[in-house]
């Protein structure tokens, strides 16, 4: 029955999806559905992500990436497809993986760009390209009184930008991602041979990557090439921003703080491309020209602070992309949100430039700082104070953010500025849009409504309503901050994680569920109630006691193993720290059957002299038999005094094993030798006969 239910719900989903497609206009992109399959994949790889050791790769030379043949043989593919119900490849996963993997590369790119800024010859050339008139204006400005200086700085900067734009030109493309091409290449790798047209298209897409990524300037000789670009006054949008940075650094007198901002062009795992084949065949996703005119927003820009004039005031300068004068030089405050840099989320456009993170690096100290909240809305979740059991900790957005933060820490080699973090937190927590639909709630990490809580989630008692959500049928439901959600686990689950429920803790939630055992025999009404507890209601599992009190209240040391025996005849030790004092664990090995050794040893021994042991359950195997938790027994528990005896037994067995091999070898060899001596080697005899 359950299965039928599942199927019908799947059909429903499919129908809904179809109708959605019919209703909507054809758009190139669509937001990814929030499905749990992503989370489950993520949990598997959770550990892998944190364990990777990264090597520093210098980005000044060329980088060669090779990949094996991604085409699998047909039989394998069809098998795979059958098994996975045609969901052969999870592009969202790939995108998320690429998104993560690119973070360190992008940060290194920003750092290496900053190194060019210190090049003396590059500075000289760019400084000299500024007309004397402009230089004089800045000098004149410098000697005026502070009030005038504050009022006129923006105008002055705007003039510099306008001059720069008419003198320095774009001649090549910047950085961009192109998931359309990647998805197309992977998806059609197996059936490109279906007809000759698609074959030739596939080949074209594979071989002409510059059509999809553009022609980037060649930098083979490091900064020397950059000097040449400065001489010709032509480069791509990233390097031109760098040029303006250097010019500003040179012409603006007095103390100042200049920052180069970089909106990391990472893959966006939140959106997916529709009809990728059709798109490719119609040339969508190709780079239109060498000016990157499809990338309406910049991804490199400059922040300027002039601390002596006014504290907290910030000039944001985009010397390349924006058309309006307001956006070219924007005067704002450091704790203000700047909406003009966030690309529009219109699914009909090329969304390759949407960004999650903006990182800036300052000229003087070369410290990298995350300034995303200033430019990206709805990132409250990154600044929540989260409890150990918050589900946000496991969300893909948050993991990505943590990954970025980790890299920033690594690259900065020192602690981040607390003041800066506070400003960013303030912007982030005050800049959000309330979700207007259920899908939006599902997608956001900021908010939740009670009806969308998972069965193992609960709101904290102190949770305060953030807003009210009106559903389609005009019924209302309170909206809460997602930071107030905590995940619960059963007593058994906590035990496996090495934690015990605090005494007197009341379960925060009870979950009704059907054990797999009952489900398989179709006992659909034999459900079990599971009590769920939060992390805060647990403590590190204590050691098993090593003493006990008798009925007279006297304390005795436990020497009898049976004291620890549970109803299954074993002891559960999930973490070594809970092992009782006075007892030792002995790992079971395949080479020596320790239990058998002990049995042999105990033969003919008096009861007191026998070695006693207890099987230790250290976890459960859920995969071996569906619906069953098979206890894993990988060690035994013995008394400390017996531990040495067992070790000795092990040692003796090993020696005796070796000796018995020796014994056999020597005996056989002796027989062999004697036979040869007395009867001669048959082979040799024949040879001697032949000789005669």
């Amino acid at each position: 029955m359950a299965k039928r239910l599942l199927e019908s719900s799947q059909n429903d989903q499919a129908n809904r999806k179809n109708s959605k497609i019919e209703k909507k206009e054809v758009s190139f992109y669509e937001e990814e559905e929030t499905d749990d399959s992503f989370d489950s994949f993520y949990q598997d790889e959770e550990d892998d992500l944190s364990d990777i050791d990264w090597e520093e790769v210098s980005l000044d030379g060329s980088l060669t990436v090779t990949f094996g043949n991604i085409r699998r043989d047909r039989e394998k593919v069809s098998k795979y497809k059958r098994k996975h119900n045609k969901k052969a490849f999870n592009y969202q996963r790939l995108k998320y993986g690429l998104h993560l993997i690119m973070i360190p590369f992008m940060l290194f790119l920003l750092k290496s760009r900053m190194k060019w800024i210190d090049d003396e010859r590059l500075n000289r050339r760019l400084r000299r390209s500024v007309p004397k008139l402009i230089g004089k204006k800045f000098k004149d400005w410098d000697v005026r009184d502070p009030a005038f200086k504050m009022d006129s700085l923006r105008t002055l900067l705007l003039g510099l930008v306008l001059w720069f734009r008419s003198n320095y030109k774009m001649n090549s493309n910047g950085i961009r991602q192109n998931f359309n091409r990647l998805q197309y290449l992977i998806k059609y790798a197996d059936n490109q041979n279906e007809n000759s047209i698609s074959e030739s298209t596939y080949k074209k897409v594979l071989e002409n990557q510059q059509e999809f990524y553009g022609n980037r300037p060649l930098i083979n000789h490091g900064v020397e090439d950059i000097r040449k670009m400065a001489k010709r006054k032509m480069a791509n949008r990233d390097i031109l921003t760098l040029f303006f940075f250097i010019i500003l650094e040179n012409v603006l007198p007095g103390p100042k703080k200049l920052y180069l901002c970089f909106a990391l062009p990472l893959h966006d795992y939140d959106i997916r491309c529709n009809k990728v084949k059709w798109q490719i065949e119609h040339g969508i996703g190709k780079v239109p020209n060498r000016f990157d005119s499809d990338l309406i927003q910049p991804y490199f820009w400059i922040e300027l602070e002039v601390p002596t004039l006014s504290d907290g005031e910030l000039y944001i300068i985009d010397p390349i992309a924006h058309l309006g004068e307001r956006e070219m030089v924007l005067k704002t405050r450091e704790d203000q949100f700047v909406p003009t840099y966030q690309p529009s989320v219109d699914m009909k456009y090329n969304l390759n430039q949407k960004f999650h993170y903006v990182v800036r690096i300052n000229h003087a100290e070369k410290v990298l700082q995350d300034v995303s909240p200033r430019y990206v809305p709805n990132v409250c979740y990154r600044y929540f104070e989260l409890s150990e059991s918050s589900p946000i900790l496991k969300s893909k957005h948050y993991t990505s953010y943590q990954y970025l933060s980790k890299w920033l820490k690594v690259l900065n080699k020192k602690k981040a500025s607390v003041h800066h973090y506070a400003i960013m937190k303030k912007i982030a927590l005050t800049n959000f849009t309330l979700p207007k639909s259920v899908t939006e709630i599902k997608r956001t990490d900021n908010f939740v409504i009670p009806s969308l809580l998972k069965s193992n989630e609960v709101l904290k008692a102190c949770a305060k309503q953030a807003a009210t959500f009106t559903k389609g049928d005009n019924s209302q439901e309170p909206i809460f901050w997602r930071r107030d959600v905590i995940q619960l686990k059963s007593k058994q689950h906590w035990a496996i994680l090495g934690r015990s429920i605090l005494p007197n803790a009341q379960p925060l939630k009870r979950k009704k569920y059907l054990p797999m055992r009952e489900r398989m025999v179709r006992n659909l009404d034999k459900y079990v109630i599971k009590e769920l507890f939060s992390y805060e209601q647990t403590m590190k599992s204590p050691k098993y006691p090593s003493t006990y009190c008798d009925h007279l209240g006297q304390e005795h040391v436990i020497t009898d193993l049976s004291h620890y025996k549970n109803k299954f005849g074993n002891i559960e030790i999930y973490s070594k720290e809970t092992k009782p004092d006075g007892f030792e664990l002995i790992p079971l090995s395949k080479e020596v059957d320790i239990k058998c050794l002990i049995k042999e040893y105990n033969k003919g021994k008096r009861k007191m002299q026998k070695i006693k042991y207890l099987d230790v359950v250290s976890g459960f195997d859920f995969k071996q038999k569906k619906g069953h938790a098979i206890p894993k027994i990988e060690s035994i528990l013995v008394k400390e005094t017996d531990y040495k005896a067992v070790q000795l037994l092990k040692q003796q067995t090993k020696v005796l094993l070796g000796l018995s091999f020796w014994d056999i070898l020597l005996r056989k060899l002796r027989v062999n030798d004697r036979l040869n001596a007395e009867y001669g080697n048959v082979g040799n005899n024949e040879e001697t006969l032949d000789d005669h």
């Binding site: 020696v655 018995s660 091999f661 056999i664 070898l665 060899l669």
Partner: protein
Amino acid sequence: SKSTNVSYERVELFENPKVPIEVEDEILEKYAESSLDHDMTVNELPRFFKDLQLEPTIWKLVRNEDVIIEGTDVIDFTKLVRCTCQLLILMNNLTVIDDLWSMLIRNCGRDVDFPQVALRDHVLSVKDLQKISNLIGADQSSGTIEMISCATDGKRLFMTYLDFGCVLGKLGYLKM
């Protein structure tokens, strides 16, 4: 275990041999000579063995680490007594050991490959043992690792004449 011919009692008999009183006295006397004004060190081992008139072809195979206090080069008296007694047992059985050792050396072909090496100076590796056990029709890698490990306390991948003598002692092949 596979064979009733090996027993741990016999191993212990060789590992902790009973030392005749007159032998112990002699060892003590020579030891005292070497450590009159200082602790005896490994440098004095050769003279010590020479004074006792032990067989030089065997005592030169004694490894320092078997007779010292761990982490120093000072001789551990108990270990030294045990080692000396074992050497004495081996010396009383040289023909037996020579016989069996040369059988091994012949069967793995080392005598032909290294003709200039004296019999007691040969060493056997895991590969040599494998060759021999193939010869007698044992299936590959049957126990050769265990055998080397047993002969060298799991410390090395090759064994010497002395190691082999001790194996025979533990097996009970030698007159005590």
